[in-house]
Amino acid sequence: MASLSLRKINKRFGKVHVLHDLDLEIQDGEFVVFVGPSGCGKSTLLRLIAGLETISDGEMRIGDHIVNDLSPRERGIAMVFQSYALYPHMSVYKNMAFGLKIDGQNKQQIDQKIRDVASKLQLDSLLDRKPGQLSGGQRQRVAIGRAIVRDPKVFLFDEPLSNLDAALRLKMRIEIARLQKVLNTTTIYVTHDQVEAMTLADKIVVMNGGHIEQVGAPMELYNAPQNKFVAGFIGSPAMNFLVAGVSTDNNTNVITLANGQTLPTQQHLKHGTQLTLGIRPEHLSLYGAETDLAIEGQIESVERMGDITYIYFSMPGHDLITMAQQGDHQLPIGQIIRAYAKPEKIHLFDESGKAIKLS
């Protein structure tokens, strides 16, 4: 069993408090992705789990054992680093064999394992090369191979794809996903790229400033973000935010936009409350019904991809609003455009950024 459980985990570097009271449960065989902006503490959390940093406060279990004071190997983890961290003076074969030899496994056994993993990762022909003679993608595969031969209870990846070019990143992403399904080993994967998070994860942990903002399946986070941060972070292009308020209309509360439009709500919101209204670019449309929310602005820029068109328009008092339209649309810059959104696709956040149900 390699489930993982974190209770009230804290990490301080001297006076700097980096992680605050983190609680997290990870099931056996689950693919968990930590995602968040740079500097939010993802790597630190991963290194705490690995045993490369000491936990300042809190309790961590792998399976049924408290592992706070165990070494990385005793925890049964294997880690893949962003810089690959291959031993530069050893061949690919020796890189993979090194840890196993230290373990005292016999030569034949080691050889068997390495050939096995090498064929899985198409490294057969590279076994005699030094890391310096490999391309970025090959190094990445060696690093993954080195982790797999250890047969760990938990795989840890720290931004493994961020040094690769876009095409290779896509390929390796698919390969990692496939491998994890085959091996069915509990995996924790750190990235700042929400696309990687969405595509790889069974469960995403969104972090910000040393706190966990939300934990959930990718679609859960997409459809029902619990706060404005998660809403803005998950989804690409990012969600648009509109300024809104609450006013009274015929004795019922309505949500009012800056342009005077109103939306009915069943929530008991106080008159005068400041709200933020969120709409994803893909939920804005050039066409809509009477009941839809409609906003207007001047087109600033149009990006035509062929299959999809991104339209950026300005509204006074707001950042540029992004709209994603299927298909190719030729629209002149400077034109006034009207965009519609279905009420059920609208997200609402209170002053503290917490999500509110609209109906």
């Binding site: 070494s71 680093f81 031993y87 230290i102």
Partner: protein
Amino acid sequence: MILAKAKQPFNVIAVHIVLLTYTFIALFPVFIILVNAFKSRKAIFNSPLALPNADTFSTIGFEKVLSKADFLLLFGNSLLVTVVSLFFIILFGAMLAWALSEYKFTGRTLLGLFMAIGIMIPIRLGTVSILEIVVALNLVNTRTALILVYIAQGLPMAIFILNEYMSQIPKELKEAARCDDVSEYQIFFSIILPLARPAIATVAVFSMIPIWNDLWFPLILAPGESTRTVTLGIQQFIGQFVTDWNAVLASLTLAVIPILLLYVFFSKQLIRGLTAGAVK
């Protein structure tokens, strides 16, 4: 690298002139020694700058030196003292440099500073105390005394160079090794030392020449017949009234050979380390 960057031919020429001048100045004494080692005594005094020709060519100096019974002993002593000192300078220097760059312990800064002071203050200032210690340890006239002093002399610079280099080895490599359950000693010997090879070669080259050439400590600590080094041994040809220049120049010429071989060996390591680098 510098040459490749300097695009204007003027710069290239200027750089070459400076380098060639320096090379000339540095090599000139060596050239004089080599040339005169193969000349007769008369020719040395008559025309010290001339190349040996059919008339003046003579190997009398080499014959004299090689016929001396203690010649091999002198070389053996020098080589032993140099190689053993180098070995320990590199071993202890690398270990200490690694500890200073990797581990946080109380007194780390102080220890680093203490070692840095060793670079600035010449060890010869402490000759009297060193002699007292050597006497107290009953090590007078032993090669051990020389080796101990040379290790102390070489360590500060070795630590300085290696520490600088080791702190640039990516942290992830050590962490990857720790995830592989590699012990701290194994990390040092099978990862850090091989990676630090270029720096080690640099340290070796820097440390070995002062040791090989030293006259001071052999004279004071180990002047005995059986423990003499080459530099000290050559002194027997230099008399108060007559100096056997043939023998002196011949033994100096011979003395260059071992150190040259060592140098070639280490600079190969240096270059191999640089090209096989790829610490990425």
